[in-house]
């Protein structure tokens, strides 16, 4: 897997998330991401086609009708 470009991360940080960043932090972030992306990719090995994320909101409880 090609190394993650620090320039790319810097651009994303400046243009999208707008969080000021330090080059040392970005180098660390690139290294952490590189270490994890393969494992994240392997999540595709799981059959997730019928699975909803754990974050879905529960429907609100039914409120009894009051006349």
């Amino acid at each position: 897997m090609a190394p993650i470009s620090i320039h790319l991360l810097q651009a994303l940080s400046q243009e999208l998330s707008r969080i000021p960043t330090d080059p040392d932090d970005l180098a660390n972030a690139a290294s952490q991401l590189a270490a994890q992306l393969e494992g994240l990719g392997r999540l595709d090995d799981l059959d997730l086609s019928a699975v909803e994320p754990a974050t879905v909101l529960l429907p609100p409880r039914e409120v009894p009708y009051v006349s």
Partner: protein, 473 residues
Amino acid sequence: MSPEELTRLGIAEVGKLIRRRALSPVELTRAYLDRIQREDGDRLAYITVLRNEALAAAAAAEREIAGGHSRGPLHGIPIALKDLIMTRGIRTTCGSRILKDWVPDADATVARRLAEAGAILLGKLNMHEFAYGPTGVNPHYGTSRNPWDRGRMPGGSSSGSAVAVAAGLCAGALGTDTGGSVRIPAAFCGLVGLKPTYGRVRRAGVIPLAWSLDHVGPMTRTVTDAALLLQALAGRDPADPSTADVPVPDYARAMQGEIRGLTLGLPKDLFFERLDPEVRAAVLAAARSLEGLGASLEEIPLPKIRHAGPASFAIIVSEATAYHEPYLKTRAAEYGADVRARLMTGQFILAGHYLKAQRARQVIRAEMDLALRRVHALLLPTTPVPAPPLDARELTVDGLTEDVRAWLIRCTRPINVTGHPALSVPCGLTAAGLPIGLQIVGRHFDEATVLQIGRAFEAVSPMRERRPPLDSK
């Protein structure tokens, strides 16, 4: 009994003395405060000590008990809280420079519940900054010193909680656990640490690291003490939508039974794959001890559990960065370097990664649920290694070199992903005298069985009479 001896007793023991009026809560609280004053200068377990407030609360408890109004087993017991649990009128730093002067105007629900149960708050405890790391190393308040070996990591993120309980600086403490932050320091400091089921204990008023993985749990010297604290904490909270409306049993009673007839699973995947040899030997010896008590052992396949690590990573870094984004935009330089770097990483996780991780989580949890239909609980190591040296950056185990943080959370973070209850109990010492933790994982909301197994093991554990060298420097 001398003040020093009092600070070595567990919650259940001193609670009985207090209820019999054989021990004054003021005397006990003063014993702890004096010990903190004498011992914590270089142990660095506390960030804030509440001497006057604690003595006033102890005097009030004493008056109530003398008047025949005992509130139960925690009444008059000196405890302390990890410093991300909000306390009204008392600063809550989260182990950070950013919040060094923050004084909340409300109590976290867990703080209020312990106060209502009559516990005496001695102070607020050191931690890994914003709970974002398993080593306990803190650049702002210093690193709490592991009482078994001051040159070793205390474990984190609830480092001060573990050191305070292990070093006799409070009778019990609360920590929080997002990837192992109660269980790892409990294992490294020779304590009991319980991560309850997700939804069992209220998180309202606890500063989050990752909302969908955070748990609050007790850290104590005995399993019985953990049960007593859990009893006060457990239950539904209207202020916390993640708490479940599930009945709370009487844990002290529920954990009394024998474990004969229980089936305990040893997972074949991940947890036993790469271990320090002394950890492996101690955990397997603990399993055999439980077998000797009448439980049966069964190997359990969990092939999907290895996906829990990457899923946990995507969820933690996304949620943590989302919470911290306002500070990252304005006060980034005030974070410690390790925490800031991890927070920066979170901005590069795609929404697709996060949602895939949350979907994978359902599948991993379902596999664990299925396994826990075959067995009553799983037995695992809490950590693959004993406490590493304070300056360790990488560790090599079975020929694999990885970042020390990755090793520390390897066996704990999958259980945050699944949300099952997990208890760490001391199960041995290495030849170098470092504690080893056995992890017991149970069915959702079945903390009672987990505690029951832990208590049964504790009675036969090689660690049952072992204490750290408390008065050595």
